[in-house]
Each structure stands twice: as structure tokens, then as C-alpha cells.
């Protein structure tokens, strides 16, 4: 887990509208990640229809020094994690953990009665940003929220 270097976390809504894109690497511009997120959408839809059971979709594709992992919920919300490729092989379990935490953070945010789920607007919430930040920088889970127990994938 210590070796994983997350360079971007992106969340795409069900109409393939961007909800949240956070860039953790100083070396790549934000625009690049917008582009990656966009490309990933099609790959994810295709992959999800093949792999019926799991929300975790594994490696979607690789480009240059980046590898892109995907996770799609049944409500068609897509989570994308982009890693700078390290020397060690990344375990599926580690990635699933990361996605579970992102999913948790998203669920906590969606539980806010003032957030409109279908509004197509980007997510603007300090608490949410802090949680994603903690995940992206590999810090321990920020405490305090109820919904931190998403069921592990079978």
C-alpha cells in the first residue's frame, strides 16, 4: 500500500458528466486527467457489460507512465484512479480498498439532503475534498462518518 502513487482520482456521473477530478501529481497538467477520465468512460461501459458481477473493473488501459483503474457502481457512477506506474506489481486488493474508500466518501456526500444528485454540477464540499485528499495522499482514513463500511466485493 505504501508504494502506490496515486496521481489522480476522478468521479464521473451517470450521464458521463464529470463530478470531481483531483490531480495529485505536480508534473502532469489537470487537462490531461480530464482527457483520461473522458476516455475511460467508454472503456468502463464496455468492460462493465462484460464483467457482470463486480463493481471493480481493474486496469482499463495504460499510457506513458500512467495506468488507469476503474470502478463502476450499479447507479452508473464511475470512479477512476490513475497511478504512476511503480516498480512493484499492484495488488487487486489494494486497489479495491482504495475504491471502497472513495465509494464511502461519495456515499457520505450523497447522503447530504442539500446535494442534488442529478444536477450535473461538480461536487463542491469541503468534507468530501478532505476525504479524497486523504485517500490520494495515502493517509489513514479520516474518522467520523457513519458510512465507512461498504461491503467488500465478493
Amino acid at each position: 500500500m505504501a508504494n502506490i502513487n496515486i496521481s489522480c482520482i476522478a468521479i464521473i456521473g451517470k450521464q458521463n458528466n464529470p463530478l470531481y477530478i483531483k490531480n495529485f501529481s505536480p508534473s502532469h497538467p489537470d487537462l490531461k486527467y480530464h482527457y483520461i477520465a473522458h476516455t475511460s468512460c467508454d472503456v468502463m461501459e464496455e468492460r462493465a457489460s462484460m464483467k457482470a458481477q463486480d463493481m471493480y473493473l481493474g486496469v482499463l488501459f495504460s499510457m506513458e507512465d500512467l495506468s488507469v483503474y476503474g470502478y463502476m457502481t450499479n447507479t452508473k457512477i464511475k470512479f477512476i484512479t490513475v497511478l504512476t506506474v511503480p516498480d512493484v506489481i499492484i495488488k487487486d486488493l489494494d486497489m479495491k480498498n482504495i475504491f471502497r474508500r472513495i465509494h464511502s466518501a461519495y456515499v457520505n456526500h450523497a447522503s447530504n439532503p442539500f446535494y442534488e444528485i442529478d444536477s450535473q454540477k461538480m461536487i463542491k464540499s469541503k468534507k468530501f475534498e478532505q476525504e479524497i485528499d486523504a485517500i490520494g495522499r495515502g493517509r489513514a482514513h479520516e474518522g467520523g462518518n457513519r458510512n465507512s463500511q461498504i461491503a467488500p466485493a465478493p
Binding site: N108, H109, S111, N112, P113, F114, Y115, S125, K126, K127, N145, R146, N147
Partner: protein, 188 residues
């Protein structure tokens, strides 16, 4: 005295109360508030409506409270505060707010809630914070309604709320007067 109330409250919560899912409860209250905000578009008005709703709940809730707890009359307002906090809040929300800042004449007290099940996962929009919106204002109405049915006219209002960025969530309760039964004209 306080210890006794605490035990009573816990016993009632454990045995005599039917429970529901906390998320369902939080989301239901959240959707009520969100709908009111959409309908009235004015946070001060929503405050008033929540208080009114709470008042209606309170007038009925007190019967349930008295029936289930079987407690007798309070000697003074201080005892009322303890009962509200240790038995009332415990029975209905499973929390025990601390009773603080009792005024020297014993006619005012504060309830400090360290957790608020109504407001889990809630983040207020910026306009709400500017307009002095109290998300859990229904609780103030419940306090006013229920205490009125036991012959106490009180004023209950929020002082601070963690949802608005304050450190603690505090409700202030002031006794205005005791409502004595009025003897109808014509009787001695």
C-alpha cells in the same frame, strides 16, 4: 437524582422502545428540510415551519413519554432539565445532551448536544449559514410543545450549531411562566 434518571432512561431505551434504522431516519428528516427549503426559499421561514412542526410533534410526544416513563411531577425547573435530557432525549433519539449554564434563578438552562442524529452527513449551503438557518430547529418546537402540555410555557432556541461551523451545538431553554389552570368564572 441525576444518576437515577440516567438509569431510568437507559432502561426504557433498551427495553420499551422500538427501533428503526438510523440512516432512514436521517434521510427522512433531511428530505423534509430540503423540501421545505425548496418550497419556501427563505431560511427564516423554514426555521419557523420546522419549529411549528416540532410543536405539533411535542404536544403528542409528551403523552408517549409520560406513559412509557411513568415518572412523577418535577419539583422544579432544574429537575425538568434533567428529565428532558436523561430520559426524554435518551428515549427518542438515544442521546443524552449535557445540561449546562443553569441560570442563578433556575429558570433557564442549556442543552449541549455532542452528537445529533438528525444531522449526520449534512452540509449546509453557504446561504443557509449567512441567513442564520437552524437545521435541527424541529427539536426546539418539540421542547416547546411537550413542556406546554405539562403546564410550562418555555422559549427554546438554538444558540450555536456545529453544522454552521460552531464548536458545539447548544439549545437554550427559558421558562416564561407556569400555566396555572384558570378557575372558570362563576365558581368559587
Amino acid at each position: 437524582m441525576a444518576k437515577q434518571y440516567k438509569t431510568i432512561g437507559e432502561e426504557i431505551w433498551r427495553n420499551k422502545v422500538e427501533k428503526i434504522n438510523a440512516e432512514l431516519f436521517t434521510l427522512t428528516y433531511g428530505s423534509i428540510v430540503a423540501q421545505l427549503v425548496k418550497d419556501y426559499e427563505d431560511f427564516t421561514e423554514v426555521n419557523k415551519q420546522l419549529e411549528k412542526m416540532g410543536y405539533n410533534i411535542g404536544t403528542r410526544l409528551i403523552e408517549d413519554f409520560l406513559a412509557r416513563s411513568g415518572v412523577g411531577r418535577c419539583q422544579d425547573f432544574r429537575e425538568t432539565a434533567e428529565m428532558v435530557s436523561k430520559i426524554g432525549f435518551k428515549m427518542f433519539l438515544n442521546i443524552t445532551p449535557a445540561v449546562t449554564n443553569i441560570s442563578p434563578d433556575g429558570r433557564e438552562f442549556s442543552l449541549v448536544l455532542d452528537e445529533n442524529p438528525l444531522a449526520e452527513c449534512v452540509e449546509l449551503p453557504d446561504q443557509a449559514v449567512l441567513d442564520e438557518f437552524w437545521y435541527s430547529n424541529i427539536l426546539c418546537g418539540v421542547l416547546r410543545g411537550s413542556l406546554e402540555m405539562v403546564q410550562m410555557q418555555v422559549d427554546a432556541f438554538f444558540v450555536t450549531d456545529t453544522l454552521r461551523g460552531d464548536d458545539i451545538t447548544e439549545i437554550r431553554v427559558k421558562l416564561i411562566r407556569y400555566l396555572e389552570e384558570e378557575v372558570p368564572a362563576g365558581e368559587d
